[in-house]
Symmetry: D2
Subunit: 197 residues, 4 copies
């Protein structure tokens, strides 16, 4: 693949993933306060400009997931830096998505991981050193390293507990956007069943 | 005004306010992680269903503020409860908007308040009793009461410092959506100047 | 009502009407090639700037009616001029919407009009003088006058047959946007039933 | 490329092209009454379901081109059938876009074609046999065959003059969406200059 083909492969995969989410009303119950983003990095990405994500994030409108804008480059900060950092330990990770973390979600994801033979990860942000916490630049390396130390590798599904000024969030990581959205849609169906009872 | 006229007055005022924001690229720098909402309550609103807000919140797309959906009823939870609670102390408040709180925003809003003869308020969420914090139902009354106790009335502009799992946020309150958006646009211009230096 | 109240009443009524359409999947089958707009004029409007409509028109996305943008002023040309011209004959008309015209729609609207005691109108554009046709400025007065001459008043529901370079279209007129959208939603349900057999 | 890669290449190329249009305010002046669509077919597409396009078409909101929805499969009828028919004569064509046709656009495109060494094509729809015209299924083969007969090949840029009930339109054809959007953006800049004088 040349560069243009790589770029279009990333954008096209994001569109397929977004179109899957649009058709899943159950996913709206997993949208956190900070809304959802879905990011996918070029194979050799070094900066957040080489990571594509949904411009304006994914929110809920009229009871359905809604992508505010098109996939575009350089429109995600947090998820993009997440992918770049994770790749230092696991070169197979290209894509990331965040979703709501509460007691029911923790229970649902834990069970899903156990069924799928996946490591269920979590990160205790209250352990984060104060000087690290205060800078995004140092917080991300600390967080990813903690996960690797604790689990021997970066888990594909994990949550970061609440922090001071930070909403707790689940993260899913994988080789592409369609792969992780497929996981999250399955989780959304289970979450929705449990919370609607 | 009959009920239908009251309903349309609220929705129409929200549209005018959203159209003002759309034309203000500087406002994008004041969009917090949780995105912005803009809510406006009917005169006698008792539940969040009687408060209109922007469905899907206001985010940034292509570098411009973007309303994900139309103004609609019952689509805001937090801001709607905020207005209902504030009104117990100040019947003139009908509308609320949230925006980003950081050191520069605090400095800009403080100066703006002093120029306009407005009280500059802030709420220390670290003072919040643990049992109150854990329930949205009791947290809101506690927060509004704290402000009233501290300032003698609900300030029109104030911020809530970070909490555990909670992003710090500014709130602007006023009689309608156009009034508070006018204030916030002025603040956005000043914030944007300071942060672009 | 003062001017601001009049402005907000128009915008708010448009939002209510758009929110009704958004919930009506059947309406998508009535969207013509030129897409739908919905316009509402201020009481004393003299120019298209004083007529509000949906910025970007109403189209179908994901199988549901979708308003591309917010209601705004001066964003409709054809429907706005339509309302201004019609008002010279009927001061009660403030709002207009267009929708698809085909054989089934003609049959459905004809029956609806007969049930509701409304005049069913149609305009034969092939009668239009060539010099009139070539200018939007003279075509609109000719068309409205033809209807008034033929029916004694402007019908609330009528179609304009195809013209050279012009798609045939139905128009609904009324006192406000909610009133005409209510009619069109009823027509959409009947149309959808007939075309899905 | 396997099938999934082909699918993502098409969707990703459409996103790149749409993002180019979004940044081109001059393009809004080339949006026709029927709005714009942009379609791109899979290499071996046999039905319109195998052609991707912008769901809800491209319109103008706030003075900028706006894609109402995401690229998706089976959401274009006319442009999709156009591509399928053209390919019977020219296997290199995968993508198509339509835009406004008026006297200025004709002049601008004619000059552009002459500079670029491209054939400037036009189709006189008034020559279309009445029985052909009445059916979309037979009209498309007739139109494409006329062009091939007249020019020896399908021109990359041509217009179809107005028809009965049909707006005149320009079409651009090419190997992918980015290629044709690049041409159309250049044309939009020239058109905009001429019409704003």
């Amino acid at each position: 693949m040349n560069r243009t083909q790589e770029i279009e492969a990333v954008l096209g995969n994001l569109v397929s993933a977004v179109n899957m989410l649009r058709c899943c009303p159950e996913f709206t119950s997993l949208i956190p306060e900070v809304r959802v983003n879905l990011a996918y990095a070029l194979p050799d990405a070094r900066t957040t400009q080489e990571v594509a994500a949904v411009d304006g994030r994914i929110t809920a409108v009229g009871g359905l997931p809604y992508a505010s804008g098109m996939p575009a480059w350089g429109v995600s900060d947090h998820l993009a830096r997440r992918i770049l950092e994770v790749r230092k330990y696991d070169a197979e990770i290209n894509a990331a998505i965040n979703f709501k973390c509460d007691d029911v979600a923790i229970e649902v994801v834990r069970k899903y991981c156990s069924e799928q033979g996946l490591v269920f990860g979590w990160l205790d942000r209250s352990q984060e050193p104060k000087d690290t916490m205060e800078s995004d630049g140092t917080s991300m390396p600390w967080k990813v390293k903690q996960l690797v130390t604790k689990y021997g590798a970066v888990p594909r599904l994990f949550y970061e507990g609440a922090g001071w000024g930070k909403e707790p969030l689940f993260l899913a990581l994988g080789k592409d956007a369609v792969e992780i959205v497929s996981m999250v849609i399955e989780i959304a169906h289970r979450y929705s069943e449990k919370t609607q009872k």
